[in-house]
């Protein structure tokens, strides 16, 4: 099969199961920061208080620390994951006043930092580690797609097809979705059901960016980005930061909040025929392989998963996640959404804070933060009742990296 397991992260092993826990989470004010940046852009004046990634990271860190009940001196490891530049982990530790015995440079997206932190903790390099993700793409005016590219960094499909006018992440999802539509005879505007469900979730979430209801008419009238994908099929671009604090589970019982156990992970990377694998097969081999690794490591089956968060760069990509992991039968995802199966109160609530489409574009870190809230049973109106086991699935165009979490003993 066309994937490499365990290429970028520690091999999933059962000895790590539930051994470490997320004990603190902090997020920035996505909705307020988004609105401020939009207002500044509209007024045409330079955004005076433009967010720097370091300032966002600092805010998320202090919120996570406060959330955990730990003190600054308890943190002796720091990992940073700044997607488009920023301080190194060492510089960030100095800024925060963290005496870090261990620093990690993590990949930007939520594809590996948690297993990497577990590995560092297991090696005894530190006792309690804070992982910080931050991005200031909105304030920086970052553009996506088009001729600008970093040839050595971008995956080849992303930039190679310029002479044909083909570029952007959105175009990947458009081709995969159109192929799926033709295969299963799906209506042109069927993804409205997905986008509307995620918007409904965002309306139940204070910090989520999109806070106007989305109707089917509103969806259908929205402009196309890359047909058949509308504006509301494509994720947001916004500034923000997320911080997670991790330590050993058996040292997490007397802290402020219920620990969220890191139970399993997996990884599968596409190594050849990337576009065919995405457009025709929708990465089904990689979803199955990586998902099974994560479930096996956690010692659970798919039927144990009560809440699911997945990387929704596009509404179309939720179809790939749900069918790839076997949460929906092939060709059945849209019908499932129309029946409310993937909404709060449905058989498997998915992206309950609105995901990246209506919540916040934190490259998978927002999804893990939401899992923490759900497993602590603190998610308010959008809470999945009694949830004990949850799964996150990161998948971009060429990799799948799921994580399984369980609710620890309440403090």
């Amino acid at each position: 099969m066309a994937y490499h397991p365990g290429q970028n992260i520690p091999i999933p092993e059962t000895r790590y199961r539930d051994r470490y826990a997320i004990v603190g989470v902090g997020e920035t004010d996505y909705r307020e920061d988004y609105r401020a940046a939009r207002e500044a852009a509209k007024s045409g004046v330079q955004h005076q208080n433009a967010n720097t990634v370091e300032a966002l990271a600092e805010r998320a860190f202090h919120r996570a620390l406060n959330d955990s009940g730990l003190g600054l001196s308890d943190i002796d490891g720091l990992g940073v994951s700044f997607l488009y530049g920023g301080y190194s982990a060492g510089e960030m530790a100095a800024q925060l006043g963290v005496a870090a015995r261990c620093t990690l440079a993590c990949s930007g997206v939520m594809a590996g930092p948690i297993p990497q932190a577990v590995s560092a903790l297991e090696r005894g390099e530190c006792h309690t580690i804070a992982l910080i993700y931050g991005v200031a793409s909105q304030s920086k005016g970052r553009r996506f797609g088009g001729q600008v590219h970093q040839e050595n960094l971008a995956p080849s499909s992303y930039y190679y097809h310029h002479p044909w006018g083909w570029s952007s992440q959105a175009a990947h999802w458009a081709l995969a979705w159109q192929h799926y539509r033709a295969q299963y005879d799906i209506d042109e505007h069927a993804l409205a059901a997905v986008s509307m469900q995620l918007r409904a979730h965002a309306l139940m979430t204070d910090h989520s960016i999109m806070h106007q209801p989305l109707t089917r008419e509103g969806y259908e009238k929205s402009r196309y980005i890359v047909w058949p994908l509308h504006l509301f099929d494509i994720c947001l671009v916004n500034d923000g930061a997320v911080c997670l604090i991790i330590r050993r589970s058996d040292q997490s019982r007397d802290l402020a909040k219920t620990p969220v156990l890191i139970s399993g992970w997996g990884e599968a990377t596409v190594t050849q025929d990337k576009m065919k694998n995405l457009v025709v097969h929708r990465m089904s081999d990689q979803f199955q392989a990586a998902g099974q690794q994560a479930l096996d490591m956690a010692g659970v089956t798919r039927d144990h998963i009560q809440h699911f968060e997945c990387y929704d760069a596009s509404s179309a990509h939720l179809v790939n996640h749900l069918e790839g992991h076997g949460f929906a039968a092939p060709g059945e995802t849209i019908a499932g959404y129309e029946r409310g199966e993937f909404g709060v109160g449905g058989r498997l609530p998915v992206n309950t804070a609105g995901g990246m489409l209506s919540g916040s574009y934190m490259h998978g870190w927002n999804h893990v933060a939401e899992i923490v809230h759900q497993l602590r049973h603190e998610a308010g109106a959008r809470q999945t009742p009694g949830v004990e086991t949850a799964m996150f699935s990161l998948a971009q165009t060429d990799q799948v990296h799921p994580l399984v979490f369980r609710r620890g003993e309440p403090t």
Binding site: G145, Q147, H161, G165, L175, A182, Y224, W227, K276, V279
Partner: protein
């Protein structure tokens, strides 16, 4: 008529493809070790790791797999908006992202047989011939 296009990626790895296009040939690499046909070009075979790769013409025929239309102007005016892209599964196996030629949206149906042709284009590097795909059966003029 010459069409203006966003820039090609050029260099030793990429130039043989465009040299074949100049002769109205669609060519892809073939791995001499495992027969894999990578696209876009690679320095070593993505299947077996061999660096023994040779550019060889392919039939230029295939079938339509998927299609999309760009409404968002990612290329900031470099392409007349909107425009279509198609994904062709070549008879030799690889898939090839291209533009339709002599095809309307109403013609798009999965499995449609297609054949390559070459559109005269230019970018900042100069003139070149761009492989595009149209119906396998030549379009007969309407009477």
């Amino acid at each position: 008529m010459t069409e203006r296009r966003p820039n090609r990626i050029l260099g030793p790895l990429h130039d043989p493809f465009w040299h074949h296009c100049d002769r109205e040939q669609l060519a892809l690499q073939r791995c001499m070790s495992c027969e894999h046909r990578p696209w876009p070009p690679v320095a070593t075979c993505e299947q077996c790791g061999s660096d023994s790769l040779r550019w060889e013409p392919v039939s230029g025929q295939g079938k339509l797999l998927s299609w999309c239309r760009f409404d968002h102007d990612y290329y900031l005016g470099a392409m007349p908006m909107p425009y279509w892209n198609i994904v062709v599964e070549l008879d030799e196996g690889p898939i090839f992202i291209s533009n339709p030629s002599q095809l309307d949206q109403s013609d798009f149906v999965a499995g449609l047989p297609l054949r390559v042709s070459f559109q005269q284009c230019e970018d900042e590097h100069g003139p070149f011939r761009l492989p595009v795909f149209g119906p396998l059966t030549p379009v007969t003029p309407q009477s």
